[in-house]
Symmetry: C2
Subunit: 337 residues, 2 copies
Amino acid sequence: MIKVGINGYGTIGKRVADAVSKQDDMEIVGVTKTRPTWEAKNAIKAGYKLFCGIPDNVNNFKEAGIELAGDINDLLGQCDIMIDCSPKKIGAENLEKYYKPQGIKAIYQGAVKHDAIGESFNAQSNYDSAKGKQNVRVVSCNTTGLSRVLGALDKAYGVKKARVVLVRRASDPGSSKSGPVDGIVPNPITVPSHHGPDVLTVLPKLNIVTSAFKVSSTFMHAHSLMIELDKEVSAEEVKELFKKTPRLLMVNSSEGLTSTAELMEFARDFGRPRYDMYENLVWEDSIGVEGNELYFFQAVPQESIVIPENIDCIRAMCSDVSAEESMEKTNKTLGIK
Amino acid sequence: MIKVGINGYGTIGKRVADAVSKQDDMEIVGVTKTRPTWEAKNAIKAGYKLFCGIPDNVNNFKEAGIELAGDINDLLGQCDIMIDCSPKKIGAENLEKYYKPQGIKAIYQGAVKHDAIGESFNAQSNYDSAKGKQNVRVVSCNTTGLSRVLGALDKAYGVKKARVVLVRRASDPGSSKSGPVDGIVPNPITVPSHHGPDVLTVLPKLNIVTSAFKVSSTFMHAHSLMIELDKEVSAEEVKELFKKTPRLLMVNSSEGLTSTAELMEFARDFGRPRYDMYENLVWEDSIGVEGNELYFFQAVPQESIVIPENIDCIRAMCSDVSAEESMEKTNKTLGIK
């Protein structure tokens, strides 16, 4: 059994914890929160041992009547690997402060820069590279979504040049922090954006250029992809390829799935916890080909698409299970076809 | 004096009426409304003669206490040219119902299809083609914005292939009709979208592919442009070209103009009526070049960018004023540098 700790029981952390709990070759030792929020209380209700993520904050939890199993240092001593799900770039600080001094393996999320960790991960692209590594970063939701489709297309036909425009949601559904409320934000303002180079951390030979907007939406990111291929293929061939590609789900606007709003209602009826989707949602009726250039739209569920990748990354770093075997196991336990 | 009638005193019509009033070679004979709305009352307050756009609706105006100068048939008899600013594709019906039977020249807006009119117009691209024509369509806001920059780039360097992703506002600021409120809508779902072919109605030789999303915003459309040029140029050269191109305004995110929201506040301080902008707003600090490919973002003010084009189109159809002379006159009267 691989003993797993979660540092940061928030948007990503709580989802990874639940997904780890469904695996028969790993177990959750405990999770951390830095403040005594409702999510801290929920972690205990969910049956997880709660540790204080900042040792100095232990008294805040006592005052709030929340029982701790210790602080982060106590948790570190009991784990084979920590999944760092702390916000923004704090994971890079935790590497220096906790994981490196304690000699413990750790997985980081996409907001931490590749250069701070040295190894980036996408199960379909480079599972084996994570073997034997102490520190690995699971790439961001957008990069995961891009790596899945571009990796499959590059393998099947060769990608000459991929051009992608990302339309990013402004905020997660459960957060009231960020905008815009009414506006379209080129973000970053420079073109190309950093998203293209981030794909190169898992698919290093790809020729890709990206730009990105942030818009008034909460549900999912959406991508417009324009991909020059090395050879001419038909839209039908691409649809067949995507149907065989793991962790892609084809949807149709002709069935009423016309936007990310309808996709989220579709997800709510899908029946998974927190109406999560682990797949890229590719609009089948958007797939078009002109000469050797392929066009389509996809949606990327920002809160949940990286969850299966975190599970596979744990196995890549802490076991000798193969990529195929791990992905199959992860897919089966999470209900991914 | 060119005698001008406005059919439809709404979002576009009232702006064209005010712009025509500023020209010394044309005058407004009257404007139409189909229903006795607040805008109908405002037309009279603004000093325009009001005609009923649907003859059967005359009594509705009487009941609302709004004085009419007649119905649309009365207006047609007094004009050299009608500017059709009716919503959606109604202009094509008006062509058959009113303008063709009366033998009167007419200008249509971008929502009317090119094939229904046969001639499309953008002042910088094809002013002279409108000469002698009975019916001409001023292309849509997005197509106007694209034609200005792509026309200038094609003339200066040659455009090998332009790829553009449009992020469209869901609704005008003064309308509560359409959504999404929280969602990203691939619209149309098919790629390429119709926007590329629409640019070809004024720049027929261009190689262009477009796709489009609709998002929760009201202020402006935004475009991400990825343009392969026939030769390598520097970002500085492109900036110099754009500074010389008429009806483009360069803005900088480094000065705080980071999104369409800030651009609209900028427009409100600019001092024009209804805080209109007639220019493409190109983010100077987004302009980037890699090899022979140019990247940048621009914003397109959907309510007002076509106003100067309507004025120039009137002159192209009803006078022997040259393109350069007309654009200079229009720019001067509307305060465009």
